[in-house]
Symmetry: C2
Subunit: 157 residues, 2 copies
DNA sequence: AACGAAACGTTGGCGGGACCAACGATAATC
DNA sequence: GATTATCGTTGGTCCCGCCAACGTTTCGTT
């Protein structure tokens, strides 16, 4: 790809720029994830959700991070094999599996957190701190607008 | 996906927000492209590049928009069948195909341009005009930083 | 209490997009 | 003139997001 000769029509479009930036971010994170032995970004999302919510079902995990049930199954199976989480049948609802993070999983997640933070630092390097905050603020509003989420509804549900 | 219960670790990460925003943008554009009979966003990029540069080779087109040669071949074949462009062997370099946009192609591109503009308007709806400019400005710097491009080098090469 | 509807986890598969490998043909380089 | 590089094309792989189906279990309604 030759960035010098990309059409102006694309270079100036916010949608194209968003795509390019997201690609760079995914690339940076992907490299670090792969180096840490994690095949996909979704593993990080899964562990993060699990760490926040405590113990929950696979379906709930999927809903939280926007991952299909079938893919959650695969990721959970893999992470269980790595000792990052436990999967036990829920005695209260025998359809579900209760998934909970292990101590090893928390430690591993902490490592991934550092990698993600480093990747983000690298991605946003050309931006000043205030700019990053402004960027995040705008993106939050954009995302909220398209997910039917109303801002300020934190934990008032 | 339940946006209310996505992990805070993700919701506050610029990388995740960028990915989400880009996804929404791709979705909006993809819908409109599909409605216009275009199977992929890359077709728009291709026509846009072609309209700016005049007549060039497929390899050059691919480099400009970041598309693999093989994928350019498929897209060009398809767009040629639709009458949006002409593909002729380059007499000056018989390895290349000279690709040039047709009048129909320009008209079609104009229509796609309107669709893309509308999609972007929809994507950035919650942002004021100045905010959109600030967003674009920041993203331009981010993208430039990761593509080895120096700002202000417009056409001075 | 019974029955239909819904949710759960799992397996398997589909389609698109990005990428790579190889080939024959042609041009550039030394 | 021989090697190297580029071009267009074909064909393939891999990953990701998504859907379909199944058996199991729970919920909702009557």
């Amino acid at each position: 790809m030759d960035p010098l000769s990309t059409p102006v029509r694309l270079r100036s479009r916010a949608t194209w720029l968003l795509g390019q930036s997201a690609n760079q971010g995914h690339r940076l994170i992907g490299e670090r994830m792969h180096a840490a032995g994690v095949p996909s970004r979704s593993y990080y999302s899964l562990l993060a959700a699990l760490s926040e919510v405590g113990a929950t079902s696979q379906a709930d995990l999927g809903r939280r991070i926007g991952l299909d049930r079938s893919d959650v199954t695969a990721a959970v199976t893999d992470l269980e094999a790595k000792g990052c989480l436990e999967r036990t049948p829920d005695p209260a609802d025998r359809r579900r599996n209760l998934v909970r993070i292990t101590a090893d999983g928390k430690a591993f997640l902490a490592g991934l957190d550092a990698e993600v933070a480093a990747a983000q630092e690298e991605l946003l390097a050309p931006l000043a701190q205030e700019e990053r905050e402004a960027l995040v603020g705008m993106l939050v509003r954009v995302v909220a607008h398209h997910t039917g989420l109303r801002l300020g509804d934190d934990a008032e549900g």
